[in-house]
Amino acid sequence: MGRIFWRKLEGFGHAIFYVCLFIGGQTGAYLLLGPVVFFYVLVSRRSHRLTKAYRQRRFPEHRGVNAWLDTFRIVYSFGQILVDRAWLGIRKEVGLEGELVGRDRLLRTVAEGKGLVLLTAHVGNWQTALSHICDLAVPVNSLMHYDQAAVAKHYFDLRGEQTPFRIINTEGLMGGLVEATAALMRGEVVTVMADRYIKGPFVTADFIGSPVRLPAAAYSLAAATGAPLAVLLAAKTGRTRYSLTVWDIFTPVIGDRQERQKNLAVGAARFAGALNEYVRQYPYQWYNFFDFWRQ
């Protein structure tokens, strides 16, 4: 009963937000979001538990009310992302205004024709922002787990539009790495969500003062194919504004087999460094709701 009940309740909650979006637009849904998130954070110990590992590292000095407010701000900001996604989905005529910081550098790198691995993470309005990468002059592929059945549907499903990138499903054999390699060798772009480690080879890097496991595949892809790697992270910077920033560009190496793990970890450290800087600037746009350091 429990699982079905919560699933129905989740669906009902989504339906209410959709009604608000139809009637009051984005502002209407934001108005509803405030009290909903306040109540949720007030009664749900789970919300605090799911953000605890991150909060305690990012705001080690925060206790009591401040810690409570941190949870509220993280959940509220995530709620805004979901509202935006739904709003853009049902109102085809609206859109977010965005800027791509480091665009020229990114275009120059793509123009080298070696392919490009775009590393990104579950921060900011990553999905909406990434769906706007359609002017890189080469096809874009996204190495991702694609669950169309999720209640919170993906941006492009809601828009009813064809995705601006080809999805390479990580559920496939070898986690889609063979397809990704072929794409890079054609000089194409492959985006990788490089923060969550689920299975397969990993490397360890320091993130907000503690070691964390990160998937190794992206660094291996880049090193084997000679493709450069760019860290591209999105942030919501206003009610209808987002910023996509190129935080770093580098080309990892594999070297000798016995050195492989160490060399791939150098790449992961660059990514973790960019992520560190990101959460320093946008502390409430971190959307990994689990103990990231025990993944």
Binding site: G172, L177, V178, S220, L221, D256
Partner: protein, 86 residues
């Protein structure tokens, strides 16, 4: 065919920098990945690049890769078929 298989074994040992493995140690029918030679998904990435670099044959997806990476025999067969199809 035998020459191609020998070449593949040498490439795998040399370019994947396998330690304590000689080309002669690789069985023609042994699986290349996991329980066979113990190669992993990161090695698969390098293999796709190596096959393209040395033989000009592209492995586009895992449907092809699954067949090709079964063993040295299968990989040699795959390369020959691709070359013949050109």
């Amino acid at each position: 065919m035998e020459e191609l298989k020998q070449q593949l074994k040498e490439i795998i040992v040399r370019d994947l920098k396998l330690q304590d493995v000689k080309p002669a140690d690789i069985n023609d029918d042994a699986p290349l990945f996991e329980e066979g030679m113990g190669l992993d998904s990161l090695d698969a990435v390098e293999m796709v690049v190596l096959i393209q670099k040395h033989f000009g044959v592209q492995i586009e997806d895992m449907d092809e890769g699954k067949e090709a990476f079964r063993s040295i025999n299968a990989l040699a067969q795959f390369i020959m078929q691709r070359r013949a199809g050109k």
